[in-house]
């Protein structure tokens, strides 16, 4: 007699809506074949909205472990669901401004929905199996999305590179999971934790497993020394996808890392903590320093996102309630800034019909005051400038570090931010370079309204997160309690 796995359907309603949405989009695309006129994308937006709606409605519900104990649906999962749905929604709005969406919008939307499903699942995974499957779900979707612009060699190149390197990352992760399985006899997080608690310290299987799992996850968040793919992929991928990766992938991967460290790997903190400290410092330094010399704005933002990952790692190291809350807020704050910044770059690419570099962006801020100002706000947010969500994020992270005796890490982060100000300023200065003439102005291209809406939404979120962050901090705090309790 086979026992049917226990599935609480309502608890996984957000994922179901994403998947149903994806299927619907694909069907519509199949039936309407070329006459889709954005219906697919609109459906995708609706799917994200419904998914996010379910998650919001379920906010505060007691945690559930479901789908044969593969998933934990708790506040943390809900938070990621909401965030990812928001990111997806905004990304689709931005993507509408991309000419290629007229022919392939439905496919784009469907793959994006799949990727988002993977991201929400990874946040709720309760075993390494789920973790791996979810990771691959969104990774493979992203490989496709990166290469989505088949007309662009850069896009194809970035997709291929991401595929090769990402697969190596996944293999490392799963290899590590295998070793942990060997050491503890379980893939379930609680089982691993129990096994590790009993394992003799310094056992090589454990060490191997921990390092490999860590490496696999660090790869996804783009931390040193596994960051190599980030600049190339961010640069080559279609800009809306880059924004989505910078925002949503980071959220999913960081939450997965945090959960893995807080639940299965909590007993071996001594093993991974020094590793993470070194990685965090190196990531902050290298990310910031390398960003300083970039002329391609997307590439510069890629390096800056590496640096941001390093900053997030500080919060991971600090851990506990304060650290986790800071991490979640930081990620949530980062998302609208990243999507918004890349949305502005989408606009500029259209205006300029080419790559966004410090050269091509000259004086563009005067042509498009709103977009220019929005970019300035997003960049200031990245830099951690007061009254932006990014500042509060950094404030919370540094605060948690200072509070729990990691003040020197906060100082490292602060120094990194000084360098950060320098390269963000380079962009701002180019944007408002009076000595240059922008000259390019492609007014009124279709789909731009949706981009502007997306930018406005991001702007509102960034400012609200900086000026009135109370609700956000509360939410982050509630979600973070899951991680803090995992100890």
């Amino acid at each position: 007699m086979i026992e049917a796995p226990n599935v609480v359907v309502l608890a996984i309603a957000p994922e179901i809506s994403l998947l149903v949405g994806a299927s619907l989009v694909l069907m519509v695309a199949a039936f309407l074949r070329g006459r889709d006129r954005g219906i697919g994308v609109l459906l995708g937006i609706a799917a994200f909205a419904v998914s996010g709606g379910f998650a919001i409605a379920a906010w505060g519900d007691p945690p559930v472990v479901t789908v044969a104990e593969a998933l934990q649906v708790d506040q943390l999962t809900q938070a990621v669901r909401i965030l990812v749905a928001g990111c997806g929604l905004l990304t689709l709005l931005v993507a509408l401004g991309w000419p290629r969406m007229r022919e392939a919008g439905a496919e784009y939307a469907a793959i994006l929905l799949f990727a988002a499903t993977g991201m929400t699942l990874i946040a709720g995974s309760n075993s390494f199996l789920t973790l791996f499957v979810a990771l691959e779900l969104f990774s493979i979707s992203l490989y496709v999305l990166c290469a989505f612009d088949r007309s662009s060699k850069a896009s194809l190149e970035s997709g291929f590179k991401y595929l090769v390197l990402g697969t190596i990352g996944s293999i490392i992760l799963v290899y590590g999971a295998a070793f942990l399985y060997g050491a503890t006899g379980s893939f379930q997080f609680d089982g691993v934790a129990a096994g590790l608690a009993e394992a003799e310290p310094g056992a090589w299987l454990v060490a191997l497993g921990v390092v490999l799992v860590l490496a696999g996850l660090l790869f996804k968040i783009g931390a040193l020394p596994f960051h190599m793919w980030v600049p190339d992929v961010y640069e080559g991928a279609p800009t809306s996808v880059t924004g989505f990766m910078a925002a949503a992938t980071k959220i999913a991967a960081f939450v997965a890392l945090a959960r893995v460290l807080a639940e299965p790997l909590a007993p071996v903190r001594d093993t991974w903590e020094p590793v993470l400290v070194v990685v965090a410092v190196a990531t902050i330094v290298v990310g910031n320093v390398a960003a300083l010399v970039q002329d391609n704005v997307k590439r510069m933002l890629a390096y800056s996102s590496i640096a941001a990952a390093g900053f997030g790692l500080i919060a991971i190291i600090v851990g506990g309630e304060a650290g986790s809350r800071a991490l979640l807020f930081y990620l949530a704050a980062y998302a609208p800034m990243a999507i918004g910044a890349f949305a502005v770059i989408t606009l500029h690419e259209r205006d300029h019909r080419g790559v966004t570099t410090l050269e091509s962006i000259r004086a563009w801020g005067f042509e498009r005051p709103f977009a220019g100002l929005a970019l300035v706000v997003f960049l200031l947010g990245f830099a951690g400038f007061p009254l932006t969500a990014g500042f509060l994020g950094k404030f919370l992270v540094a605060g948690s570090a200072v509070e729990s005796g990691w003040a020197w890490l906060a100082v490292v982060g602060a120094i990194g931010s000084v360098i950060g100000i320098a390269y963000y300023l380079r962009v701002i200065l180019a944007l408002y370079d009076r000595s240059a003439r922008s000259g390019v102005h492609a007014a009124g291209a279709p789909g731009l309204a949706s981009v502007s809406i997306a930018i406005a939404l991001c702007l509102a979120l960034v400012i609200a997160g900086g000026a009135l962050p109370g609700i956000g901090i509360d939410w982050a705090g509630e979600a973070a309690r899951v991680l803090a309790a995992g100890r």
């Binding site: 005051p369 540094a398 200072v402 509070e403 109370g470 901090i473 509360d474």
Partner: protein
């Protein structure tokens, strides 16, 4: 009811609106001027309603980020009000000058100036460390953009220097603020009141460094020359006139009250630096080749003198320092506007190419003389009154201190006389002969005149200011003074 919050929000919102909404260029300028004048009116109302003995007034205190113990806590005492008042005046004059000079991209210039004003008000009114940081850091970016976009030929380098010095200082201060706020005994509390006396030496130095750079105090003045020389006149006026006062104000209103023990212990160091800077700046001003150089180094000298006055930790020192800041704000703002006017009309600020401008330009001669005489603290002027107070405080502290400091006053006479005669007197410079600059009239005159008139008014009855400031400034140094006495 007009409160400190109104004072902050009105220019902030107005600045953003002017920045974004595509008004006609002139309209944007006049709107900005109107708002700036409105702020002058509002501050004048405060001055009228101010009760010197009643401590902090016109305040607001509301929950902002309760999770972190951060409150929107703003209020003005005598010291803050004095500086807020002079800020309103200087910004209005700077905008007026910009209007006259027909600065291009009016929206951005004046919008950013108003935003700067708002953040300056935040600094002067903050009763919460977080709020204070927001203002302190917040004013930096608009000023940087103004410098970087509308600056002179070497604006890029100047911007980098300003960023390198100031950003570094403020970010370390942020870490210190975090420490103070998060380690409060009854949960996180960022109010200044809760931070009194809790800081250790490290935190003290982090604050002190940030303020020393901003002031600028010797030897942290490396960024001053490039910034003051490359900025457009109205920005230089705001930068040296009021933005630098944020540093001096912070010494008096934040550092000394919050760290009474350390302030008393290390007062000797600040006194020494102040003294050296006072003489240093004066000596260097004496050899500068152009007007901006003289004003810049005299600013360094004056602000060093202010710091000296503050760290004498007695009533005359602190009141004198506040008064001196007000005076210097008026003087240096007016001188920078005048220097800018000269450069625009005569093509250069180089002393070798100017001269003889007094001839048939009676208004220019009169205004320049009044300002020059105020700057060199001719007895009877308001600058004299404030310097006398600081000198009195220094003399009371140690007779030799007062005696050495008095040397700087003689030097001030020397460099200001050099400036006056190099511009107004002696033989006509070649540029004056070629370009035949007109007399100081209309817009430019209206921009400079209020500052000069304010100086004259303060000379007639300086007690009108000191009576309002004195109780507050005494309160600020009371703790440190007691500590010093006990030592």
């Amino acid at each position: 009811m007009i409160t400190a919050t109104t004072l902050i929000t009105v220019p902030l919102i107005a600045g953003i609106v002017i920045l974004i909404v595509p008004f006609a260029q002139r309209l944007a300028g006049y709107l900005a001027l109107l708002v700036a004048l409105g702020m002058v009116g509002a501050v004048a109302g405060f001055v009228y309603r101010f009760e010197p003995m009643a401590g902090y007034q016109f305040g607001d205190d509301a929950e902002w980020i309760p999770q972190l113990g951060i409150r929107w806590s703003v209020a003005l005492d005598g010291v803050g009000l004095a500086l807020a008042a002079v800020t309103a005046l200087v910004v209005a004059c700077a905008i007026g000058y910009g209007l006259w000079a027909r600065r291009d991209r009016t929206h951005a210039t004046f919008g950013l100036l108003l935003i700067t004003e708002a953040f300056l008000f935040v600094v002067f009114a903050a009763r919460d460390l977080f709020v204070f940081y927001v203002g302190f850091e917040g004013m930096l970016i608009p000023l940087l953009v103004l410098l970087a976009v509308w600056g002179g030929d070497e604006r890029r380098k100047a911007t980098v220097q300003v960023v390198a010095y100031t950003a570094f200082g403020t970010l370390l201060m942020l870490v210190a603020i975090l420490w103070l706020g998060l380690t409060a005994p009854d949960g996180p509390d960022f109010s200044m009141a809760a931070a009194v006396g809790r800081g250790n030496d490290l935190v003290f130095w982090a604050f002190a460094l940030a303020f020393a750079i901003k002031s600028p105090l010797f030897p942290f003045h490396g960024w001053v020359m490039p910034a003051y020389r490359q900025s457009s006149p109205e920005v230089a006026a705001v930068l040296s006139g009021v933005a630098s006062k944020a540093g001096g104000f912070a010494f008096l209103a934040v550092l000394v009250p919050l760290f009474p023990e350390q302030s008393a212990r290390y007062a000797w160091l600040f006194i020494a630096l102040g003294l050296i800077g006072f003489l240093w700046g004066a000596l260097l001003a004496f050899r500068q080749p152009d007007g901006r150089g003289v004003i810049a180094y005299s600013s360094i000298a004056q602000m060093s003198f202010v710091v000296l006055g503050i760290f004498l930790l007695n009533a005359q020192g602190s009141t004198g320092a506040t008064f001196q800041m007000v005076n210097h704000a008026l003087v240096s703002a007016a001188l920078f506007l005048l220097a800018g006017w000269l450069e625009s009309q005569a093509g250069s600020g180089d002393f070798r190419r100017l001269g003889g401008l007094a001839r048939s330009r009676p208004i220019l001669a009169t205004v320049a003389l009044v300002l020059g005489m105020a700057a060199l603290a001719v007895p009877g002027s308001s600058v004299f009154a404030s310097e006398f107070l600081i000198l009195l405080a220094a003399f009371a502290d140690a007779w030799w201190l007062g005696t050495i400091a008095s040397l700087g006053i003689v030097l001030a006479a020397m460099y200001m006389l050099r400036w006056i005669s190099a511009v107004l007197h002696e033989r006509e410079g070649d540029l004056v002969g070629q370009l035949r600059p007109p007399d100081l009239r209309s817009g430019a005159l209206l921009a400079v005149l209020p500052l000069a008139l304010a100086l004259i008014a303060l000379s007639v009855a300086p007690a009108q200011l000191t009576e309002r400031v004195d109780p507050s400034s005494q309160m600020m140094v009371a703790g440190a003074f007691a500590d010093k006495e006990a030592r």
